[in-house]
Structure formats: structure tokens, C-alpha cells
């Protein structure tokens, strides 16, 4: 199990479009990817679930990646976050 924290910089927060791309990215890996904000947790590969967290600019979210390709997925997702929001 791998995890990392990320603070959203994009002023619109994690709105529908980047959330959609993130869900697609997360679905590429065999590992399960969960995102949590405060007490709420969402399956990162599910767009509506992810949008339900209503993640805003300046908020910190935690990724939890678990599975055989977790190493690779963790690195890729962290880079994806930095490049997109």
C-alpha cells in the first residue's frame, strides 16, 4: 500500500473535467486507488464518486494505492496531479 498527499492548486478545484481525466488515469492500473478528503473517501476511478468530494483549491487530498502495480501507479498519479490541477 502506497499513499501520498496533494494540495490542489487549480483555482477551480478538482472540477468535472480534471476529475474525469483523473478517473481515467486511475482506471489504467490494476491497483485500487482511493482518494480521501477529511473523513470522506472516494474510489478514484469513479468520476461521480470523485466529484462527490467537491475538492476545492487549497484543499489537501490523500491518495491510497493498493495492488501489484502500486509503485508505478503512485508515481504516475502524483505526476498527473502536479501537471493537471
Amino acid at each position: 500500500m502506497k499513499s501520498f498527499c496533494y494540495t490542489v492548486i487549480d483555482e477551480l478545484g478538482l472540477h468535472a473535467r480534471p476529475a474525469g481525466f483523473l478517473a481515467k488515469e486511475a482506471a489504467k492500473y490494476k491497483s485500487s486507488v482511493y482518494v480521501s478528503k477529511n473523513e470522506k473517501k472516494a474510489d478514484c476511478s469513479r468520476l461521480f464518486n470523485l466529484m462527490g468530494l467537491a475538492i476545492k483549491q487549497g484543499e489537501s487530498i490523500t491518495f491510497m494505492i493498493d495492488g501489484e502495480d502500486e509503485e508505478e501507479a503512485c508515481a504516475a498519479l502524483e505526476a498527473f496531479c502536479r501537471n493537471n490541477f
Partner: protein, 552 residues
């Protein structure tokens, strides 16, 4: 000939064939004669078709309207791939033995409800996206064709119930003279789009437009009127209007980039009045120097409860950013009198114009006021903000307001939130009282802006909405002009500046008077900015001794 009155959403007049595009409502049967597996297969194949259409639309929209307008289609396509959405529909098919279309419709309703119950505004708006994608799938499954302009050769007046974002983008705009819709308001999607495109449009025309399908119509976007089968005189009148307008537009365009200056080189600032963030675009197009009046009421009128600090902050920030450092004067809440909202309990008043309204509400409902001020002050970091307070009648009110502003600012700074340091505070001078104590008020604020609509009503004791006394309502009345001069002189003695933001700011007849008393700023509807510039261009104040408005 028939005359239908709606809400003006985008200026301009057009004459043409009226066509009503009704979205055929698909009939959705629940019981299915097919097996669950077959229904699931139908669901997926319709979903894939919808995704493909959306991707095509995305590509077209990127080219035609730019990436930001196109984004919505990409998001819609991604939503149709959401596993929760798919699984919900599949389980309905299995559990209920229902048709794919019924499952798609129910799934759309379910997810839309989840979004509409969320506390976040942005997410709440996504409810309509879910409905949009689901009805797309349902239409495919029921074999209902999307509305199609392609079969029509001529340019037409496009009418419909209300237009969804996805419908408007699919339209071949070269065929559309104007928009007429049964529903909608000035801030609905079609209104904003038509203003951006510069196509006349009238919304909120009410039901029954379908009866006029294929008839000749005049769409008067300036006055929010739709004429069906216009008679000869009406037609001739509007043809003349169109010709005049074309000439005027040509003349006006030549004034963009020119100064607001008289022939003898006296200058004035001309700003735009706006009602919602989208209107900034109009002010910029018409070369306004900034925003002289942003009526914050729209946020309250469009909302179901008092809008939250964040919602307000986003709207104010949008305006400040759009104006790129040009001054934006935002007027705090001006509810009451003729502007009511259902969620705020306005007791019945004998005389609402003289009742509980504007700053009187703000000062008694502290929380409402503080929420608005916090949003405004937070937004101040994104541009050049000035604050203006409506319905002032005493110095004490202004002192109290300033104290609340100072406290709110201190609280924000304490929370480590950036607030601009140079926010100008001003008041509306719209009561005779404010004008008469303007010498004292000028000590308290940086500027005055004359709200000439109310000032005229209160001074002349004439309600301009009452047809019997309407003729007494005259912003050029000597009493009003004297009040304006008196208050302007008092402000200038204290080194403060003065504007006019009421409707009479755009009254060409009064322009010499404004220069004569030394008004510093006029704020008008965006479409009047260049008209004023044009009117003052040939004005020579030195040769104007006999103007009737100067003899006060």
C-alpha cells in the same frame, strides 16, 4: 398581428420566419419484452453511440466556440463512462425487468438528485449535466431525433422551450437570426450565449409559441417583444429601425478607442452598469472605462436562499478579473421595494418604496451584510474594487457601515486572507436627504453616485411605475438638477469625486449639464457608452450658454 411580451435577453431587431423546435418527448415504457441481458446490451450500445456523438460535438465545438465552451461535451462523455452510473442502470434492468430507456431515465433522475442536494454550488449545477446525458441516451433508445436545422435553407428566428447548452452548440448559427424561448431569464444559458454572439433574443415568452410555427415574425430584442404576422406599418417601422441601427453601429464602431471628450477637450469617465458577471463582456466590447454599478441583487434574486460567502466571492472575483484592473464599483444588497425574494420575509408594507429596503435591511440583518462584505473584501484581491452603499439618508448610517467594513476587514486579515488596501467607499445619493447633507457625507466617503431614478421619484413624489403620475417623473426637473449641482459642489469642495449611475446618466439631453456641474463619471447600460461618447464629441461648452438645463 399578435404581440407577445417576454424578457429582453440580447439587443437587436430581426424580421424573419419563426420556427419552433420542440423537443419531442420520448415515450418511455417500463416493462420490457426482452431479456435483461439484451436490455443491458441496448443500454450499452446507446451509451456508446451517445459518447461518440459527444466526442464529435467536442471536436466541432473546439473549432467553433473554443476549448472552454467545448469542455462540457467532453465532461458529458466521461460521465457516461462512470462505473457508478453504469452499474446503477444495469442493476435496475436486472431487478425491475425494465427497458434500457426506463433504466437510463431513472438513473439520470437518481444521480441528478444526489448532485442537486450537494452543498457545493458547482456540484449542484452538475445535476443538469446528468439529466442532459441521460436524456441523450433515452432519446437514442426511443429513436427520437435531436432537433435539426440542417433541413432548413433560410435564415430563421429560432424558437424553443428553453435551450440546453448542448442544443445551442449544435446549431448552425449562420441560419439563426434570433432566439425566442418560452422559459429562461436574463442569465439563462441562451441569454448569455446570444449576448456573446450578438444575436437578438427574447426569453420568458410563455407557453404556446408552437402555434406560431412557420409564421412571419419580428423579434424586438431591445424591448423584449415578439410580433407575429406584423402588419404593414409595424413591419415598416422595424425595417427602418434595422436600417438606422446598421448605420449607427458603423458610426459607433469608429468611436472605439477614442477618448470621452467634448470638442473643447473636457473629459469624463464613462462606465458600464451590469447585473451579472457575464455583462462585463458587453462593457469591454463597448469600450467602457470600468464598471460604475454592479447590482449585486442578481445573486440574491437567482438564488433559493441567501447566497453563501463563497458563491458571492466567485461572482465578484469573476467581475474583477474580467475587468483586468479597471475600477469595479459593486453596490451592496438593494433588495426591497420592487425587488423581492421569496426566502426573505418581507412583511406587507403600506409604502415599500419608503420601507424596509437596501441598506436598511443590511444594517438590521447583520449576518447577511457581513457575509456579503466578507465576499466582497476577499474578492478585492483580484482587481480594483470600490464599494457603494444604497439608500443612505444619514451620516450615522455611513459611520456604522464604515465601522462594520473595518471590523470585517480586520477579521479577514486576522484569518490571513488578503484584502486590497485601496478599496474606495462611496454612497448612492438617491434620497433628497443625502443630497441635502452631502457636505457632511462627503467627509465620510471617497465618492458619490447619483441614483437618479429614486432621487427623482422621492424628490418629485412621483412613482414612475404609476401611469397616472408618470408624466410628473422628470429627471431633468429643476429640483433634481439643483440637488445634483448642490451635492456635486459639496463633494468637490472636499476633493471627492461624483458619478451618475441612474438611467438619466444616459440621457443625451443632460450631457451638457453634467459637464457644466463637473460630474466626473457616468455609468450607463453598456450599449449607451458609445452613444454618449458620440454625443459629447461635438459639444462645445463655451458656446452653450443658453442650454435650458444650464439655467438653474
Amino acid at each position: 398581428m399578435e404581440k407577445i411580451i417576454g424578457i429582453t435577453a440580447s439587443d437587436g431587431v430581426v424580421i424573419g420566419k419563426f420556427m419552433f423546435f420542440g423537443t419531442q418527448k420520448p415515450v418511455v415504457e417500463k416493462a420490457s419484452p426482452l431479456s435483461a441481458d439484451l436490455e443491458k446490451e441496448r443500454f450499452h450500445s446507446a451509451r456508446r453511440e451517445a459518447i461518440q456523438t459527444l466526442r464529435d460535438l467536442f471536436k466541432t465545438a473546439v473549432q467553433e466556440a473554443g476549448e472552454s465552451h467545448a469542455e462540457i461535451f467532453e465532461v458529458h462523455a466521461m460521465m457516461l463512462e462512470d462505473l457508478d452510473y453504469i452499474e446503477y442502470a444495469e442493476s435496475l434492468i436486472e431487478r425491475e425487468g425494465c427497458t434500457a430507456q426506463w433504466a437510463a431515465q431513472r438513473t439520470g433522475e437518481q444521480f441528478s438528485r444526489i448532485f442537486s442536494e450537494m452543498s457545493d454550488d458547482y456540484m449542484r449545477e452538475r445535476a443538469s449535466d446528468v439529466e442532459d446525458i441521460s436524456s441523450r441516451v433515452v432519446r437514442i433508445l426511443c429513436n427520437v431525433k435531436d432537433l435539426n436545422l440542417n433541413d432548413i435553407q433560410d435564415k430563421i428566428i429560432f424558437a424553443g422551450d428553453d435551450l440546453m447548452p448542448s442544443q445551442t452548440i449544435q446549431l448552425d448559427r449562420s441560419k439563426i437570426l434570433g432566439f425566442a424561448t418560452q422559459k429562461g431569464s436574463r442569465v439563462s444559458h441562451v441569454a448569455i450565449l446570444s449576448r456573446t454572439l450578438g444575436i437578438p433574443s427574447v426569453v420568458g415568452l410563455g407557453s404556446g409559441l408552437i402555434d406560431y410555427h412557420n409564421k412571419t415574425a419580428v423579434l424586438d430584442g431591445d424591448n423584449g417583444i415578439l410580433w407575429i404576422d406584423p402588419d404593414k406599418a409595424t413591419l415598416a417601422f422595424y425595417q427602418q429601425q434595422i436600417r438606422l441601427r446598421q448605420q449607427e453601429e458603423k458610426d459607433m464602431a469608429a468611436l472605439i478607442g477614442q477618448p470621452n471628450q467634448t470638442a473643447d477637450c473636457i473629459t469624463i469617465e464613462i462606465n458600464g452598469n451590469i447585473g451579472c458577471p457575464e455583462d462585463c463582456e458587453l462593457v469591454k466590447q463597448n469600450d467602457g472605462s470600468g464598471i460604475g454599478l454592479f447590482r449585486s441583487e442578481f445573486l440574491y434574486m437567482e438564488s433559493k436562499t441567501f447566497p453563501s460567502e463563497d458563491v458571492q466571492y466567485e461572482a465578484y472575483k469573476k467581475v474583477l478579473e474580467a475587468m483586468e484592473g479597471k475600477r469595479v464599483i459593486i453596490r451592496t444588497l438593494d433588495l426591497g421595494a420592487d425587488k423581492k425574494v421569496p426566502y426573505f420575509n418581507f412583511d406587507a408594507e403600506e409604502n415599500p418604496a419608503m420601507g424596509f429596503r437596501a441598506i436598511r435591511i443590511s444594517l438590521s440583518q447583520r449576518e447577511v451584510f457581513t457575509t456579503q462584505l466578507r465576499a466582497l473584501l476577499r474578492a478585492s484581491a483580484h482587481g480594483k474594487l470600490a464599494l457603494m452603499f444604497p439608500m443612505i439618508t444619514s451620516v450615522e448610517e455611513v459611520k456604522k457601515i464604515k465601522q462594520i467594513v473595518t471590523e470585517t476587514k480586520a477579521q479577514l486579515i486576522h484569518e490571513k486572507i488578503t484584502v486590497a488596501e485601496d478599496i474606495e467607499l462611496g454612497i448612492m445619493v438617491e434620497t433628497p436627504a443625502a443630497a441635502l447633507i452631502s457636505d457632511l457625507l462627503a467627509d465620510e466617503v471617497e465618492f458619490f453616485s447619483f441614483g437618479t431614478n429614486d432621487l427623482t421619484q422621492y424628490t418629485l413624489a412621483a412613482d414612475r411605475m404609476n401611469p397616472k403620475v408618470e408624466s410628473l417623473y422628470d429627471p431633468g426637473h429643476l429640483a433634481i438638477l439643483r440637488l445634483l449641482k448642490f451635492a456635486t459642489d459639496n463633494a468637490h469642495k472636499k476633493g471627492k469625486w461624483v458619478g451618475v449611475c441612474g438611467e438619466s446618466a444616459a440621457d443625451i439631453r443632460l450631457v451638457p449639464f453634467y459637464f457644466y456641474i463637473g460630474i466626473d463619471e457616468l455609468s450607463v447600460v453598456p450599449s449607451a457608452i458609445l452613444k454618449l461618447r458620440s454625443a459629447m464629441k461635438d459639444l462645445d461648452m463655451k458656446s452653450l450658454r443658453n442650454d435650458r438645463f444650464l439655467n438653474i
